[in-house]
């Protein structure tokens, strides 16, 4: 009899494999995130009632974590496959779990855009959370502005500069970077270092990097465009630049931006390492 029960349990487990992504407490209520059969995501409340459910495409992987706010918290879902990644941000409202509105791309001139010295930044007036976004060679830490009360999100920063008669033009904002370099096999690699994250201000300096050189990845700049697909949103960085310091030599401090240069500092284009 016990043996029969064991086989039934095994059969049930095979038919309905279940992966728990963890339990999270949002505004005093605990939610559990479950993936069933690698094909369906569910978020259960404390009474085990399903608060959210969605099908998952094959090859999609998902993680969940708390996005802590000032006295509030949300649940941040991160979906990834080989080619793309997207997010969802949930909050608790009237005792139920609900999605925040996704961020929209702001027009160049917004009421709270700050432009100073020809370069400006749309600063976060509310809380921001960091989205660790894969840029193809390394991670960009993209800020997302969150208004928990209104249930909205917005770009955490957007930068502009004066572009003559054309008015303001969007340029990349500086953001934090996380990079895991690969070992460099060549005795020498070569990078073109720019003083600014643009090719239009002076010509590049040519720096030869020795195999044992110490390379620091200091910051990134990119223009981030936001998009939505279903109830998920994505941050799409473009015109990505990376600020590096080589062998702690100020002469070798500058910005790089081509695949050839990224590879030269140990960051070749590759799939995201999750």
């Amino acid at each position: 009899m016990q043996l029969a029960a064991f086989f039934v349990a095994i059969a049930f487990a095979v038919q309905t494999p279940e992966q728990s992504l963890g339990s999270f407490t949002v505004a005093g209520q605990t939610f559990t995130v479950i993936v069933r059969n690698s094909s369906q995501l569910e978020i259960h409340d404390q009474s085990n009632a399903v608060q959210y459910r969605k099908p998952m495409q094959p090859g999609l992987s998902v993680t969940a974590k708390l996005a802590a706010g000032n006295g509030l918290a949300g649940l941040l879902m991160h979906y990834t496959n080989d080619n793309a990644e997207s997010w969802q941000l949930f909050r608790l409202r009237d005792g139920k779990l609900g999605l925040l509105e996704p961020p929209m791309n702001a027009a160049p001139l917004t009421a709270n855009a700050i432009v100073a010295g020809g370069r400006g930044s749309l600063l976060a007036a509310r809380e921001t959370i960091d989205l660790r976004t894969w840029g193809g060679n390394f991670y960009l830490i993209v800020p997302l502005r969150v208004d928990w009360q209104q249930g909205r999100t917005a770009p955490g920063q957007q930068c502009f500069e004066m572009a003559g008669a054309a008015g303001l033009a969007e340029v990349g904002c500086e953001m934090r970077v996380e990079a895991v370099p690969k070992p460099r096999n060549s005795d020498f690699t070569f990078v073109r270092l720019f003083n600014e994250a643009t090719e239009n201000m002076g010509s590049a300096r040519h720096v030869v990097i020795k195999k044992d050189a110490n390379i620091e990845y200091l910051a990134a700049k990119a223009i981030v465009k936001w998009s939505t697909s279903g109830d998920e949103f994505a941050a799409n960085p473009s015109d990505i630049w990376l600020k590096v310091l080589i062998d702690n030599n100020e002469d070798n401090l500058g910005w790089i931006h081509t695949e050839e240069d990224f590879a030269a500092v140990g960051l070749p284009r590759q799939k995201a390492e999750r």
Partner: protein, 316 residues
């Protein structure tokens, strides 16, 4: 006997007055329009096409300007035949219009012997102070020859940022050293002695020229340049090539769409304030390519940062 004495006396008188006439530009001349004294200087004689010519220069003291320059400036140049007849002339301004500056024109002349003809090469140069140093100075070159017994300019004065290189042997090609923004090319010009004309020796829209060596010893201990296999508008995948202090670097060739303009051989306007109205030019556009050989590896480079990496000269 008396007749002989009279003839000798007449000949002596003629010789005296002729010499006086010829030498009159060698003595100070006070002109009505100028407060400063003019002096004369003669270059030559130069034998061209069986005839003898002299270049006669009228000069005035140069205004010192803010840099306290000294010396003379040429205000008039004449090419005279053996009889003192003026075959060609050009006038120059005595002072710049800009206060504090000091301008001085100079003229030099030399016989240029080709394989099938001989000519008189005149070089006009303007020294304007104060001025920033340039990799190569501008000056004008004008070749004269004798066609049908008359002195003729083969072109207008050709403006060149560079120099005229000497030929090792008699040649009907003028070799101009021309500044090409980061290096110096050799631009050959053919001389047609029979028709009295000049023309570029290379017939192509965008040519490959010989280049002159440059001092690259000031480069960094370790750098690199990007080499393209060919001259092309967009070099998609240039090869990054290591250059160290011991690298053997050869400048192999230059590539540029050099524009030749022969100017007008018919002569200047005569307005001293615009002495080069009939000038021609050898103009090198900004877009130039340079073929180099670095430790045996050949390729073309053309961007500012690559020229800078090799410490090739640049213009302010």
């Amino acid at each position: 006997m008396k007749r002989l004495v009279v003839l000798i006396a007449i000949a002596a008188a003629i010789a005296f007055f002729w010499e006086s006439g010829r030498n009159k530009v060698q003595t100070p001349i006070a002109t009505e329009s100028a407060k400063t004294e003019s002096t004369g200087r003669r270059l030559g004689p130069f034998v061209i096409g069986g005839s003898e010519y002299r270049v006669v220069l009228e000069e005035k003291p140069r205004l010192p300007g803010s840099t306290q320059e000294t010396g003379n400036t040429v205000v008039k140049m004449e090419i005279q035949d053996s009889m003192g007849n003026v075959a060609y002339e050009r006038t120059f301004p005595v002072q710049t219009e800009l206060e504090g500056f000091s301008d001085a024109w100079s003229v030099t002349a030399t016989v240029l012997a080709g394989r099938t003809g001989t000519g008189l090469m005149i070089n006009y140069a303007l020294d304007s102070e104060p001025s920033a140093p340039t990799p190569e100075n501008d000056s004008w070159w004008q070749l004269f020859g004798v066609i049908d017994g008359k002195l003729k300019a083969f072109s207008g004065p050709i403006s060149v940022q560079g120099d005229l290189l000497p030929n090792d042997s008699a040649s009907d090609v003028l070799r101009f050293k021309v500044w090409a923004h980061h290096y110096r090319i050799m631009f050959p010009v053919s001389v047609n002695w029979a028709e009295g004309k000049l023309a570029p020796a290379m017939r192509c829209d965008s040519c490959e020229y010989d280049v002159l060596p440059e001092d690259l010893s000031d480069r960094d201990d370790l750098t690199f340049v990007r080499l393209c296999p060919t001259v092309q508008g967009e070099c998609a995948n240039p090869q990054r090539t290591l250059v160290n202090k011991d690298s053997v670097i050869e400048l192999v060739a230059g590539h540029a769409a050099v524009q030749w303009n022969e100017g007008s051989a018919s002569g200047p306007s005569g307005d001293p304030n615009h002495p080069m109205t009939n000038e021609g030019t050898i103009a090198v556009p900004e877009q130039v390519w340079l073929k180099v050989r670095i430790d045996g590896k050949e390729g073309w480079l053309h961007e500012e940062e690559d020229f800078t990496a090799l410490r090739l000269p640049f213009e302010q």
